[in-house]
């Protein structure tokens, strides 16, 4: 299958990474033209970025059809796994960019940042009329939609490289390329919460990448090269190295000892950035894990046990903390941690079985999880923008604000219900098939204990998802309902469109599961080993 390994660094290599070239090119174009454009034109840049990402998707399809091969002297694999992950990650990026268009959410945050009482040294206020801005969706000074777009696109390029990389060093660099743009995006809501979450995220992320690099240096010391294929788990040095290396990836997916940053970052990040982090970053890091499973040597029992040992506490902590969480941002954070636990079941199974069985389950789960979590963050964006007060006022992201959602916007409430049902794994949504496939993989790998833990946890998860559904359909407000009703503002339209689109995708994939499974199963037959 390694047909074109010998082709070196020539033309074929460039074609193999065409999607990444398109992404990075668009990012550079968007960031450099922003300063030439007026504010009104600049506000359309996220759409341009989304177009570039769609172009990258087409390019990914093209490179996939050219057959599985590896480029850059075998360091980058262009095969089924790469294609599946590119599809999921770039798709998530497109949806996040579209929901961030109008820069309405960011505008709301930044206008607060230039006006709020806690800012002393920010740029002096220019045009204060925030009402006018909201009507015309003109971003206020201090928001840079081009920067948002460019950073998201750069991060996307790093995330797609993660799934393709067969080299430890390229994986580390791709991970840095994916995460460095995200730190400023969390901070850019220039509020106390935003800066605090950004600093936490950054310092933990930097520590994780240092740990990862130390693991790399240990592996290189044993195997003499940075290629995955050379990792043999032959002695303790190498095993310690690979565990340190993997802990960097476990940090990105927020498996349990490395999870602390996630609820904070989701709570503080603007909704489109949160959607991107929850969907694309998680998928990208799992892409790297899957590639290690595919290209690395046979894993020793210890490694499987370590993954199982991480999955179970991740499930319990995520669901346990989400049970009574009142703030929607943190709730998505904890629910995202619990989804990491389910996904790790697929990875554990793939370490045990032949690689493909568990990896198909992991990819199916990711494909079902990504639209759901993006829809969830869009609803968060709608809720926090739904009142004329400050978007950062206390309780703006509270779960209680879901009350009466159905009477206010019935279509969105139904879309939200489908999203939640998919996250809980209820039929007839894609989430059901996702849960089923990871459970089946765990059963076939003989991880019965983990399977029981997961079943118990899906019950726990169902509790808080159903609680939110019930709240959505409850009466608007018992006390002072009229007053609240007047305070309900029409949500930004693109949030609604993305949330609706995600719900339709989840429902369609749930009713026609073949559309979910077939492409992934076919692609996984075309793997560069």
């Amino acid at each position: 299958m390694n047909g074109a390994v010998g082709s070196g660094m020539g033309w074929l290599s460039s074609v193999g990474v065409l999607p990444e070239i398109v992404l990075i090119g668009t990012a550079l174009f968007v960031m450099s033209t922003e300063m030439l454009l007026g504010r009104r034109q600049a506000s359309r840049l996220p759409m341009l970025g989304a177009l570039g990402a769609i172009l990258a998707l087409l390019a990914a399809g093209h490179t996939y059809r050219a057959g599985p091969y590896s480029v850059f002297l075998g360091a980058i694999a262009v095969d089924g796994w790469t294609a599946v992950m590119r599809g999921i990650v770039i798709g998530a990026g497109v949806l996040a960019l579209i929901s961030g268009h109008h820069s309405h959410p960011l505008a709301a945050w930044a206008s607060r940042a230039t006006k709020g009482e806690e800012e002393k040294e920010c740029e002096p206020e220019r045009d204060g009329g925030s009402g006018r801005e909201e009507e015309s969706f003109l971003p206020p000074e201090g928001t840079a939609p081009g920067e948002f777009t460019g950073l998201i696109l750069l991060s996307l390029a790093g995330l797609t490289f993660l799934a393709a990389s067969r080299d430890l060093l390229i994986t580390v660099i791709a991970l840095e390329l994916a995460s460095l743009p995200l730190y400023p995006l969390v901070v850019r809501a220039r509020t106390r919460a935003g800066v605090e979450a950004g600093v936490k995220y950054f310092l933990m992320g930097a520590t994780a990448s240092a740990v990862m690099l130390f693991g790399l240096s240990l592996i290189v010391g044993v195997s003499g090269t940075t290629r995955y294929a050379a990792v043999r788990f032959s002695n303790t040095d190498e095993l310690l190295g690979i565990l340190l290396f993997l802990s960097g990836l476990f940090f990105k997916i927020a498996a349990v000892p490395f999870h602390a940053w996630m609820p904070d970052a989701y709570e503080a990040a603007p909704a489109p950035v949160g959607a991107f982090m929850a969907a694309a970053v998680k998928a990208g890091a799992f892409g790297a894990l899957g590639r290690i499973v595919i290209s690395g040597g046979a894993a020793p029992q210890v490694l499987t046990l370590a993954v199982i040992g991480l999955a179970a506490p991740t499930l319990f902590l995520g669901n346990g903390a989400a049970l009574f969480q009142q703030r929607l941002g943190r709730l998505w954070g904890y629910s995202s941690i619990s989804h990491t636990g389910f996904l790790l079941m697929g990875i554990a199974a793939s370490l045990q079985l032949s690689a493909t069985g568990g990896l198909v389950a992991t990819a199916v789960y990711l494909a079902a999880y990504v639209p759901a979590v993006i829809g969830g963050f869009c609803i968060l964006g709608i809720i926090e923008n739904s009142s004329p007060e400050d978007p950062l006022a206390a309780g703006k992201r509270s779960v209680d604000r879901l009350k009466g959602f159905f009477t206010r916007s019935p279509f969105l409430a139904v879309a939200f219900t489908i999203t939640l049902a998919s996250m809980a794994g209820l039929p007839p949504t894609a989430g059901f098939w996702a849960k089923l496939s990871v459970f089946k993989a765990a059963y076939e790998a003989g991880h019965i204990g983990l399977l029981l833990v997961a079943l118990f946890n899906s019950l726990m998860a169902a509790y808080y998802y159903v609680r939110m559904i019930r709240m959505t359909f409850s009466d608007p407000e018992t006390a002072g309902g009229e007053e609240k009703e007047a305070g309900w503002r029409k949500p930004p339209m693109l949030y609604g469109i993305v949330a609706g689109f995600s719900a339709i995708v989840l429902l369609a994939l749930g009713i026609f599961p073949a559309a979910l499974f077939d492409p992934i199963v076919t692609a996984m037959k075309r793997i560069v080993l």
Binding site: E118, E119, E121, L169, V172, I173, E176, L180, Y183, P184, V187, R190, T191, R192, A193, V195, E196, A197, G198, V199, K200, F202, L203, A206, T207, S209, A210, V211, L213, F214, L216, S217, L218, V220, G221, G224, T225, T226, D264, E267, A268
Partner: protein, 104 residues
């Protein structure tokens, strides 16, 4: 003077542990960040020491990898110091006690 590669690796491991301890213990965020840099430099030392090891079957270009690590560290510094400056402007302090507010 020829230094044994293994003693250099032991030094690198010690530096790494000191850095990790600094990240976990120190209360000043700048010092925490410096500790992260110390960890990265431990990685560099380890990689460079590899090129001097005699027992490897294939020659290892650890110093080439170290160049990439230096590059990554530089990128992290650029982003990290920017974020820390933003933090200082907002909070007027870079001590951990003054910052933690999100959990409530």
């Amino acid at each position: 003077m020829i230094v044994n590669a293994y003693s250099v690796e032991a030094l690198a491991a010690a530096l790494f542990c000191i850095g990790l301890a600094g990240v976990l213990i120190r209360r000043n965020l700048i010092v925490v960040f410096v500790s992260v840099e110390l960890m990265l430099n431990a990685v560099n030392l380890n990689l460079v020491a590899l090129t001097r090891r005699a027992d490897l079957l294939v020659p290892v270009e650890g110093d080439a990898v170290a160049l990439f690590v230096i590059l990554l560290a530089a990128c992290e510094v650029a982003v990290g110091l920017g974020i820390l400056v933003a933090l200082y402007r907002r909070f007027g302090s870079v001590a951990i006690e003054d910052v933690g507010r999100l959990k409530e």
